[in-house]
């Protein structure tokens, strides 16, 4: 049984280094990732319904930047932003990076993280619930989604991506991949 208080924080030294890192490469990767998600998980967006038109600030509070997600059907985007430059958002979901990744990979329960104050939500609560429920249903594995960015070489990249993610995740206590599924 997991304990919310066991959620690891991103190392402070690493966060300090990232404070000066350019965000453009991360934004480019994010843009590709969200477009791949649209193609591979169409039901994610149908489950979001009208909430897909909202703007979400996904805020890993132990990192020096956040992600601005616009899951808009025709032109979805995921952009890395400095908090002071985040601009308008409808809903903010904040918490340690490990908690946010654990939510995506089905390790943590969103309500339990909220009860324990490890997860903070602000703004449009309806949009937050819709996004959480839609992601939970899709059983997304980020390592597999990253492998899908390799296009025709996905089948070559998938197994190593998951294996590396699993090993690194186990080392840091973070769910970087979905451990309970078999991915052919």
């Amino acid at each position: 049984m997991w304990n919310a208080k066991d959620i690891p924080l991103f190392p402070a030294a690493g966060a300090a280094v990232l404070r000066f890192a350019p965000l453009t490469p991360l934004s480019m990767a994010g843009a590709h990732l969200v477009k791949t998600l649209v193609q591979r998980h169409p039901s994610l967006f149908s489950r979001l319904g009208e909430q897909a038109e909202k703007t979400f600030l996904i805020d890993p509070t132990d990192l020096p930047f956040a992600f601005r997600l616009q899951p808009h059907g025709e032109a979805p985007s995921l952009e890395a932003v400095r908090r002071e430059d985040a601009g308008f958002w409808d809903a903010r979901i904040g918490g340690p990076l490990a908690a946010l990744l654990g939510l995506v990979h089905g390790v943590y329960d969103g309500d339990a993280l909220f009860f324990s104050r490890d997860l903070v939500i602000e703004g449009d609560t309806e949009a937050v619930l819709a996004l959480r429920n839609a992601i939970d249903n899709e059983e997304i594995d980020l390592a597999s989604e990253v492998a899908a960015l390799f296009g025709p070489l996905e089948h070559v990249a998938s197994a190593p991506a998951r294996r590396v993610s699993s090993l690194v995740g186990a080392w840091f206590g973070v769910a970087l991949t979905r451990e309970d599924e078999s991915h052919a």
Binding site: L48, D111, A112, R117, T125, E126, L129
Partner: protein, 330 residues
């Protein structure tokens, strides 16, 4: 000594949670359509007819049962939606529908005489006379008892009725007369009993103020919790208010039901099935709770001791109570 195998009835808000519940050992899973016909009508949650068909087939393939909750009360002039959902559940081979409204029970019993009917907790049938009425008038086979009865009262009800009883064993604890509570309606203009959402997300606002988490429902501040304190659900019945000289949780503390340690007494009281609350929760919650309680009911049936209290981290307020089963609350 032979002990009964209690049926574990588990929640699913999404097809993924449905599969997780079955794989974790649920005997039965309950769920609802993605509209106002069920009492967990939250955004991004619930099932389309196609998703329900696939999920029911999965349950049957694994030897489990699937129940469909159509347990809100039809609005005047809009009853066709509720009728259509009963028809859909019958067509998709649900093992039973969970209903609360008398008119809908009448419709289902006449239109689908072979469809098993369960009486929802939303009907608030809390005595033998009421339950016998539903059994006789509509052929209801099981009643989900309101969360306001003691174990002794449940035993007394079971002695006087001939249908099965199902009781809540774990999860969010509604302390009101369910199906009749209008607290959320007053604050939001939306009825939990007809629109399907208590404290609808569209009317909930959270804000961090000087390190405190302030929750508002329909513009009314109902909680202020300090840093490090557990946060509750934004429900009025568990809100923190001032009344005269008293400041605190006027109705009930934000705490979740965990009656695992009462499994033996509930079985001896004649209960057939144990229900886990939480269709609005994640697949992770479903998997953890179902696996834990399947072990508990199996341990009870096998004569082994039942281990309780392992799931506190998943609960509202991070605290649990045996609720009205023991009536030790304020």
């Amino acid at each position: 000594m032979s002990r009964p195998q209690l049926e574990l009835v588990c929640p699913a808000g999404t097809p993924a949670a449905f599969r997780a519940a079955i794989d974790a050992g649920a005997h039965t899973v309950y769920c609802g359509f993605n509209d106002e016909t069920n009492a967990r009508n939250f955004p991004g949650l619930n099932f389309s007819a196609d998703e329900l068909a696939t999920s029911i087939a999965y349950a049957h393939k694994k030897g489990a049962h699937a129940l469909v909750a159509i347990n809100t009360f039809p609005r005047a002039g809009a009853v066709e939606l509720w009728h259509r959902r009963v028809d859909d559940a019958a067509r998709l081979r649900a093992d039973a529908v969970i209903l609360a409204d008398i008119g809908l029970l009448d419709y289902a019993s006449k239109k689908h005489p072979d469809l098993r009917l369960h009486l929802s907790v939303q009907a608030a049938a809390a005595n033998a006379d009421a339950i016998r009425f539903y059994a006789k008038a509509f052929g209801v086979k099981r009643v989900v008892l309101p969360r306001v009865l003691t174990v002794q009262e449940i035993a007394a009800v079971n002695r006087d009725i001939e249908i099965e009883t199902e009781v809540f064993i774990f999860g969010g604890l509604c302390v009101m007369a369910e199906g009749r509570c209008s607290l959320s309606s007053y604050a939001t203009g939306k009825s939990p009993n007809m629109n399907g959402a208590c404290s609808p997300a569209s009317h909930v606002e959270y804000r961090e103020e000087d390190g405190d988490l302030v929750s508002r429902l329909g513009g009314f501040a109902i909680h202020r919790v300090h840093a490090g304190e557990a946060a509750p659900y934004p429900t009025l019945c568990k809100g923190c208010f001032e009344a005269g000289d008293y400041k605190g949780h006027v109705f009930e503390d934000p705490s979740s039901l965990d009656a695992a340690e009462l499994i033996p007494q509930l079985a001896e009281a004649g209960v057939t099935a144990l229900k886990i609350e939480g269709r609005q929760r994640s697949r992770s919650y479903t998997e953890s709770v179902v696996r834990n309680f399947r072990k508990a009911v199996d341990d009870y049936a096998a004569g082994r001791p039942v281990v309780a209290g392992a799931l506190r981290g998943l609960t509202e307020g991070q605290t649990t109570t045996a609720g009205s089963y023991r009536k030790t609350w304020r």
